[in-house]
């Protein structure tokens, strides 16, 4: 685009230039790898909180009741800090490239997800306290919903929002793969052969690893582009 071109010009070319420029500016504001790295770190850091914060009560019959209090106390502040870090990182890195990014959508998304998580958690607690403990396994759709409003599921939802805000097709594809891993858990038998505490660890490690690999992939792609 040069200034000595005639004013106006072919409308098709002008519109094509506009789209190309808009795409380039959006791309220059993306720091997808940093967002995925922060979320991976938060996911891995959750493991000890969940392990030590879990209250397990096993009866002589072998049946165990557990309460993942660590999850409740860890995730809301962790998500808040994670989104604050992501917003700060986005602004700082984009500014160094000469673009001052809009970060308010990221902050709103983070706060909204924390409210959803807390709301879902309190609802489940209320239901359990006022209803008999189910003796049969929960239906599949309930388990699916449970996984969706759990922190790992909400991270996936947040990434979907991020992909929409950034109009980032690559991130959308990655997020769909991540959500598939989170919502259709991988089980190589560890759920039946491990202790209650250890039961949750493999899935958390898998989720964190997927995020970490995603961060590495996006960082590599960005480095190649530059």
């Amino acid at each position: 685009m040069t200034s000595d071109a005639v004013p106006g010009g072919d409308p098709r070319r002008l519109l094509s230039d506009v789209r190309d420029l808009a795409h380039r500016v959006r791309r220059d504001q993306r720091v997808t790898w940093a967002a995925l790295l922060v979320l991976a770190v938060v996911t891995f850091a959750a493991i000890p909180f969940d392990w030590f914060g879990m209250q397990v009560d096993c009866k002589a019959t072998g049946e165990c009741e557990f309460d993942r209090m660590g999850v409740l106390y860890y995730w809301p502040p962790a998500l808040l800090l994670a989104y604050a870090a992501i917003a700060y990182g986005y602004r700082r890195i984009a500014r160094s490239r000469g673009v001052d990014a809009r970060i308010l959508p990221y902050v709103i998304t983070g706060v909204a997800l924390i409210v959803v998580f807390l709301g879902a958690w309190i609802s489940v607690r209320y239901y359990i306290d006022h209803n008999p403990v189910p003796t049969e396994p929960l239906p599949y759709w309930q388990m699916f919903l449970d996984r969706l409003v759990a922190p790992s599921g909400l991270i996936g939802v947040a990434l979907l929002v991020l992909a929409r805000l950034e109009r980032n097709a690559g991130l959308l594809l990655f997020t769909l793969a991540y959500l598939a891993v989170v919502l259709i858990p991988i089980d190589f038998g560890w759920q039946t052969h491990s202790s209650v505490r250890a039961e949750f660890v493999p899935q958390q490690v898998v989720n964190g690893t997927v995020l970490l690999l995603g961060a590495a992939g996006f960082a590599l792609a960005q480095r190649r582009r530059r």
Binding site: T2, S3, G8, R12, A94, A101
Partner: protein, 113 residues
């Protein structure tokens, strides 16, 4: 006796084009500024492949028309100029893009045998 009212012909999209916006560089400035909260002078210069003087002239036109705001400041010892799109600039950009789409639609309709 008066003549029967002629059905109003819709105005050709070209008639609505704004000379300030309908210019490659200025349209580029507005497009880039629209995609971020604000953009730095150097970034605009690189993206639009312009000299500093040339870009300043175009920014002056846009600022006078009230379509962008310029904010000068320092980052460390380095002077920096940030460009922000005003609400009027955002509206002007949207209208220009609509008119370009209308023009293309007109041309395509005319080209269809």
């Amino acid at each position: 006796m008066t003549a029967a009212a002629q059905p109003a012909q819709p105005a050709h999209p070209v008639t609505g084009l704004d000379d300030v916006v309908h210019q490659r560089v200025r349209l580029g400035v507005l497009t880039i500024a629209h995609e971020a909260r604000r953009v730095e002078f150097g970034y605009l210069r690189t993206q639009l492949q312009l000299t500093a003087g040339n870009l300043s002239q175009h920014l002056g036109v846009l600022e006078t028309a009230g379509l962008v705001e310029l904010e000068k400041g320092y980052e460390g010892k380095r002077g920096r100029t940030w460009i922000t799109l005003t609400p009027a600039g955002s509206t002007a950009l949207a209208e220009e893009i609509n008119r370009l789409k209308l023009l293309i639609a007109r041309v395509e309709t005319a080209e269809t045998p």
